[in-house]
Structure formats: C-alpha cells, structure tokens
C-alpha cells in the first residue's frame, strides 16, 4: 500500500511531515555526511537576526536528566550574510528550507520577513521567544498582544507562509495560540525550549555562562505533547509539534495529539540519522494500521475533535 505522506502546512507543501528544529540543524549542510537532505520534509535553519550576533559566553551547554540545557544566545552571522552566502548553497537541494527569525522589535521582524521573501526560502518561522527591547525586555511570546503585533507585522511584509513558533514559558498557551491565529499566522509550531538552570556545587555558581538556558530533549516531551494537545483544541491552523522527539513513536504521539507535522531537534545530536528513521517508522506504522494518508492520524487521540 502506498501511504500518502505529503502534508500541507498553511500553504507550505512538504513531502512528508518530518522537519528539523531550528538551531539544532545548522543550515542542513552540517548533516550531509549522515543523511540525504532531499528525503526530509523540510529543514528549519538556525535562527537569524537582522545584525550578526556573537552569542552568549560559554559554557553554553549542560546535560540534565534526559535533557539538555542550552544558552547559545542566537549566535548567527546576520540575515544579509545568510542571503548572500548560505542560501545560494541550499538551492541545489529539493527539500524545503524554512527560515527561523528573531527580532528585538516588531519592526525588526518586519524587515527580516521582507529581506527573506526571496526564492529558496519556503516559509518563515517566527521565533517569539525573544525579549522585546522596546518594552523593557518582556518576551514577545508571553503576551498575546505582542504576539499578535509581531505576527501581523511579519504577515504584512511577506507572501510566504508564516509559522508562529510559540514559547512554552507561559501560563495559558491556548490564549497565545489564538492570538497568533487571529493575527494571520498560517501555522503554529511548538514548543521552544523551557527555561531552566543548573548549578555547580563545587564552584557554587550557575553552570551556564548565561546563568539560565533552554531545556530540550526527552525530558520535555510530556510537556510539549500536552501543549500541542491544548493548542490543537484552540486553533484551526496546522500545527508543527516538537519537544523531545527521538523516535517514530514519539512523533506519532504528537500527530495523534493534533500535530500535522513534527520537528526533531536535540535528537539529531544523539543520532544524526534520526529524521530518516522517523520518516521510515511513520510510513511503516501507516502501512501496518492500513492508514492511506498520514494526515488521517492527526488529532485522533481526541475522540471529540474532527480535523
């Protein structure tokens, strides 16, 4: 039986629902020794900012039980460098490249969206887990009004599909998701990392150079899954689920919770071929369960939800 693996994420057409998570996959080229990029649903490239960003002082990483804390600080060469030097190298692949953007102000997001609306970029993922410099550092993603503002500015500057990437560090994820949908987001991706920290008892100091960092990996999977479930009840636009996925079974849980596609981040570090294994595993599951179209599985864990 041939399984239909293609999915449509708010106008972004993917050959299968498996993406890579921003910041864990470079521009994709770092993984060429291990996998065929053309077999991926898509690559979400490392977060870009308007100007080059040096990033946080090291140490930037520390493992915690089943998890990884990172405080990279969005180190990147800036959007212009990306467009001039990296993007041209990506056009030789058939996979879709989605660019993740971070701004200090809503206007910056708009400029980024405009600059990146060029051939080779398939969609924009808007990272709203960034502090709003104008509003005293309040993280955009924690305030529904700010989320709406950023998304509508981005929508006003591009014709590409716009994916709002939500921060899990909020009290009511449904409220934020609705704000993004109402502002015109074509899809929602979640979750970004959970804020955490670690302390070295020898030095009696925080381990990370930045003191706090973002938690990812299997440790956060139950939280991510719950949030995808909740957002699936709150919005009609497609959802890209992520957080701790390391196997096809994990990916299926997200799809059954309501995700139309999934992304893998930290899992790539442990097994750089994990995306390929998950694609194969999803297809196998569909065959075994006589599911003709992977999209038929979306949200099935909720008997009330017809998507």
């Amino acid at each position: 039986m041939k399984v239909k693996m293609e999915v449509d994420i708010g106008g972004l057409k993917l050959q299968n629902p498996v993406l890579t998570a921003s910041g864990t996959f470079g521009s994709g080229q770092e993984y060429l020794p291990f996998i065929d990029l053309n077999r991926l649903g898509g690559v979400v490239v490392k977060g870009l900012t308007l100007l080059p960003k040096a990033g946080n002082p090291p140490p930037r990483l520390i493992e915690t039980p089943s998890g990884l804390l990172n405080a990279i600080g969005l180190q990147n060469p800036g959007v212009d460098y990306f467009i001039e030097n990296i993007l041209p190298e990506l056009t030789s692949y058939q996979t879709k490249f989605i660019v993740n953007i971070s701004g200090n102000t809503p206007e910056e997001y708009g400029v980024l969206a405009q600059k990146l609306s060029v051939p080779g970029v398939a969609a924009l993922e808007v990272n709203i887990s960034c502090p709003n410099v104008k509003a005293g550092g309040l993280v955009f993603g924690t305030d529904p009004d700010l989320v709406a503002e950023v998304i509508s500015v981005v929508k006003g500057h591009t014709n590409l599909p716009v994916i709002a990437k939500l921060s899990p560090n909020v009290t009511d994820i449904q409220e934020i998701a609705r704000a993004a949908e109402e502002a015109g987001a074509d899809a929602i991706s979640l979750i970004n990392t959970l804020l955490g920290m670690a302390i070295d008892v020898e030095t009696r100091k925080p381990v990370l150079g930045n003191i706090v960092g973002g938690l990812s990996g299997p440790a956060i999977k139950p939280i991510a899954l719950r949030m995808v479930w909740q957002v699936a009840q709150a919005v009609k636009i497609p959802i890209i689920g992520m957080g701790g996925i390391v196997s096809a079974q994990d990916a299926l849980e997200f799809i059954l919770a309501g995700a139309n596609a999934i992304a893998i981040g930290t899992g790539n570090f442990i097994n750089p071929r994990v995306t390929m294994e998950v694609i194969a595993g999803l297809e196998e599951y569909c065959q075994k369960t006589k599911t003709e179209d992977i999209s038929h599985l979306v949200g099935l864990a909720n008997p009330l939800k017809m998507r």
Partner: protein
C-alpha cells in the same frame, strides 16, 4: 568525510585507576583520521547521559583499520563506557574536528598533561614516520597514575614529570618545557591538557617566539558544527569571535585563543 559507524571492540582494559584503553576496529574512521581529531561516542543506550561524549583518537592504525581511545572515568558517560566488552559494537561519529598541522621541517616539542597525552601519540607517530625530530614532555600526578609511557618512549625522547616527584621530574610540565626551549632546538609546540596548563604553555611559547598549537576541550552536543554549543573565544581580524571547538578546532594556534581569567 566524517561518518556514523559501528566500531567493534578489540581490546578494553583498565591501565591504572579509572584510566582505560579501548581499541576499536573502525576502518573507515582510521582511513581518514589525522592526529588531533576526535570521535563522538555513544556511551549508553539510555538517556543517561543524553549526549555522545567526545574522545581524542589515541592511535590511528590505517593498515589494520583500528583506532584507540584513552579515557578517564568522570561521570555517567565514561562510567557506562567501561562496561563495553570485547566484540561489542560502539556507535561512533568521526573523524571529527581539525587536528594538528605539521609544517615541513618542524622540530617539535609535545606537551601533554594527564588525559591530554591522548592525541599526542598519533602525532608522535606521524612525526616519526616523516623523519622529523621531536621530544615529548608528559605530566602526571603520581607514579601510580602514569600510563602509556612506553608507547611514547618507543617513538622518541620522553621527559616525565609528576606533581609529587614519584616518577621523573617533580613539578609541572612547564619547567622542563622552558629548559628545553632554551636549547633553541625546537620551533613548534603541540600541547593538550588542562586549560590552566595550556594557558601557561602558550605564554611560554610567546616568550620564546615559538609557534604553539593547543588542543582545547568544550562541552559538545553535536560535535560536527551544527549546534554552536562548544565555542571558545578567538581573535579574528574583525575582533573577538566565538569559534566552534568541534570544527574550527579542537586544535587552535595558541595566538588565536583568548584565555579566561584565573
């Protein structure tokens, strides 16, 4: 090109307290590897620890397709690594990083502290193979914690230091280093060890006007340039930059490195 592969364990033994020697059959890695490169090893099948752990290539046998690692037990990753047995397979990614570069006609002095001696052995082998002169200064804590000395002695002149003087010269590697450099026989230093040692060695290199390559360590997630987690600060034309230890290094010219305080 780097690859993910299974390496079969051929030998695995404890050399001294908590220090292990692990020989693996991994022909594709051995074929391409150069001294100073490393492998990312999956030490456990569970999420404890979650990440792979990086280890320097301690031997590169291209003829027999073997590599070896020399490691010290620190925490969960290295502890579970001690459990692998002969004939088991280990999931490896490698060879990774940019290793030592060997200028023509170098008269090298190798400086290793503790586990830092690991990547210096394949370098010593390469130097010997190319008929280039070298001496090695290897620093340990005490005689009970000295390992792999004969492997170096087979290849060339070795000076040993121990902190307590229980073998060789008493003290740090930097003392014999200054003395040897005074002879003006050497034009390049290759160093690997604790950061404080590397910082001192690089200051000595500067004062003698000798080139110095240091192999650095950093906490790594991917090991192949994708996560930007492993950076160290280096001097570039444009000012201080965060460079990736896993791909730009682990070997750096000591003049490029911006050392931490203390």
């Amino acid at each position: 090109m780097k690859l993910q592969t299974l390496g079969q364990v051929i030998r695995h033994e404890e050399l001294s307290s908590k220090v292990y020697y692990l020989v693996l059959k991994a022909p594709q890695i051995a074929k391409q590897a150069t001294p100073g490169q490393f492998v990312q090893v999956k030490c456990s099948d569970t999420y404890q620890p979650l990440l792979r752990k990086p280890f320097s290539l301690h031997e590169i046998d291209k003829v027999d397709g073997r590599i070896s690692l020399l490691y010290e037990v620190k925490g969960q990753g290295t502890k579970s690594l001690t459990k692998v047995r002969v004939d088991d397979y280990l999931d490896l990614i490698g060879p990774l990083g940019s290793g030592f570069s060997l200028p023509p006609r170098c008269r090298a002095i190798l400086v290793g502290g503790g586990m830092g001696i690991a990547p210096l052995l394949p370098l010593a082998e390469k130097l010997k193979e190319q008929g280039q002169e070298f001496a090695a200064i290897l620093g340990f804590n005490e005689v009970q914690k000295v390992y792999r000395l004969e492997a170096f002695q087979k290849l060339g002149q070795v000076i040993v230091t121990t902190l307590d003087g229980s073998l060789g010269e008493k003290g740090l590697v930097t003392q014999p280093l200054e003395r040897e450099l005074g002879s003006e026989k050497y034009n390049i230093i290759y160093a690997c060890g604790p950061e404080a040692m590397l910082k001192n060695v690089s200051a000595i290199a500067d004062s003698f006007g000798v080139e110095c390559q240091v192999s650095l360590e950093a906490y790594m997630a991917c090991g192949f340039g994708a996560c930007l987690g492993c950076v160290c600060q280096t001097k570039e034309l444009t000012g201080p930059t965060y460079s990736r230890v896993c791909t730009d290094g682990p070997v750096f010219n000591s003049r490029e490195v911006i050392w931490h305080e203390g």
